[in-house]
């Protein structure tokens, strides 16, 4: 097994407020891992630590055999792409093409190679017809797909999406998730995907779900295994994916006789 990311004994605190204390996590290359946890559980902090945007107080972060340090941070970053939550705040370029070009310009790709690379990356996310569009003429979902293309153009081995669908409408959310599934199919073992989310339905798409709270790992396993732990999830401020929750609630059906009206009433309390 090739390890994409190895985190050993990680410690990190924000101004004396400890968040991670002896945190360990290994992520296998080619896996799709969903990192879930309620608001403030430390997911974004973990992502920023992996990218060297924040510096750990103690412990090691190793990305494809390279340990993160001040000296290696740019080489490590070159292996990882990241899509953030707010679609507007990560759109650097004035147009879609300029935004994809931004990363290529930073990594000193030849000007003559750029158009072809930009087209290729935009085609993967289905945005090739929007090359000259400005960000304020795009929907949130389209902007996030452009962000994904910007990351893909740099050919990372790992992509981290930090609540990339949280600010989108259901439609945008769906197109982004579909794009991710298709990406995973296309790149297979060559792409490690980490989706940070508190939408449990999104987490079901992953190979592995890791639940964290207060900087601690609470659950870790296949979606089937993790979502069988309804109690633990609830205690950590999380809900089951819709389908699981429905199955669970239907299983709890009342013993007493119900007429039609009562049955409808009972069913409607399930959909809170």
């Amino acid at each position: 097994m090739v390890k994409a990311i190895e985190i050993n004994n990680l410690k990190y605190s924000y101004d004396e407020q400890p968040l991670f204390n002896d945190f360990n996590l290994n992520i296998e290359a080619g896996q799709w891992v969903a990192l879930v946890g309620h608001n403030g559980s430390g997911k974004s902090t973990l992502a920023k630590l992996i990218l060297g945007l924040l510096v750990a107080d103690e412990g090691q972060i190793i990305v494809f055999d390279e340990q993160l340090s001040i000296e290696s941070v740019h080489r490590v970053r070159a292996k990882i792409g990241m899509v953030f939550q707010n679609p507007d705040n990560q759109f650097v370029g004035a147009t879609v093409a300029d935004d994809v070009a931004f990363g290529l310009e930073n990594t000193k790709v030849d000007s003559s190679d750029m158009p072809q690379k930009i087209d290729a990356a935009l085609t993967v996310v289905g945005m090739q017809d929007f090359k000259d569009r400005e960000p304020h003429t795009l929907s949130g979902g389209q902007k996030q797909r452009v962000a994904l293309a910007s990351v893909l153009a740099l050919q990372p081995k790992i992509i981290i999406l930090d609540e990339a669908t949280a600010m989108l409408d259901p439609d945008g959310r769906m197109t982004v998730m579909e794009t991710l599934q298709q990406l995973k199919q296309q790149f297979g073992q060559n792409l490690t995907l980490i989706t940070i989310t508190h939408d449990m339905d999104e987490a079901t798409l992953a190979d592995r779900v890791v639940v964290i709270n207060d900087g601690r790992k609470i659950l870790d396993g296949t979606p089937a295994k993790v979502f069988s732990q309804r109690r633990v999830l609830h205690d950590n401020g999380l809900e089951l994916p819709f389908a699981n929750e429905l199955a669970y609630q239907l299983d709890k059906k009342p013993e007493d006789y119900m007429d039609e009206r009562e049955l409808i009433q009972w069913l409607s309390t399930l959909n809170k």
């Binding site: 945007l53 953030f84 707010n86 650097v92 004035a94 093409a97 000193k108 400005e134 740099l154």
Partner: protein
Amino acid sequence: MNNIMIGRFVPGDSWIHRLDPRTKMIGTFIFIFVMLWANSWATYAWSAAFVFAMIRLTKQPFKLYWDGLKPIFWLILFTIILQLFFTPGEPVLFQAGPLKITVPGIINAIYVMIRFVLIILMSTILTLTTAPTSIANALESLLKPLKKLHVPVAELALMLSIALRFVPLLMDETQKIMNAQKSRGMSFSTGGPIKRARAIVPLLIPLFVGALQRALDLANAMEVRGFQDATQRTKYRILSYGSEDSKAFAGLFIFSVLFIAIKFFIKY
């Protein structure tokens, strides 16, 4: 808010679109410089004809240019009124205290209006046909000599392109915050100047906080995509000066020569 046209780029394939952005930038400056010497109907008419010819060459509907003029309508009106009431001379048509309307005043007001409109139209041609990134690249290239004086030209150009990109976003945000506060009973358009100025404060604070958050997020996004040093980057939009650019300068030269001829030989 989407009809704000300042700095807006409309992609296209016209001759003007394809010119080197440096040519367009210098050309705009030369035109404005020449036009500032206009002092007669004939010279203004010649300048206007040139601008309208350029507009035709961009192959964009005139409505886009009209939209570009709208935001500065009040500024134009203000200047016209100043000219109208405070130009001395004879004959006086109307007088009330220190305010008087004179025939030279009316002529001056019209001249100033034409001048204003032509300058805005010419700048709109530049921004409408040039991607903001190209404008920033052109500026970086033109200011290159300042690098010797340790002016961080590359950084400034990048800052400019990012600033241009965030203008529509911040406008939108201002509108949202204003609406949110209006819905809570705040009024931005009633009361004396002091009351109005104070109404701006609760608008500015959330705007600044929001802008700072955006800046921090943007910095992260830039770093993650490999940004290290503005001077060590390749360019997607390369600048290339070609024969078409020489033709553009030749055209501008002919315009200027005829302008001077008209200025000295036609007395209207």
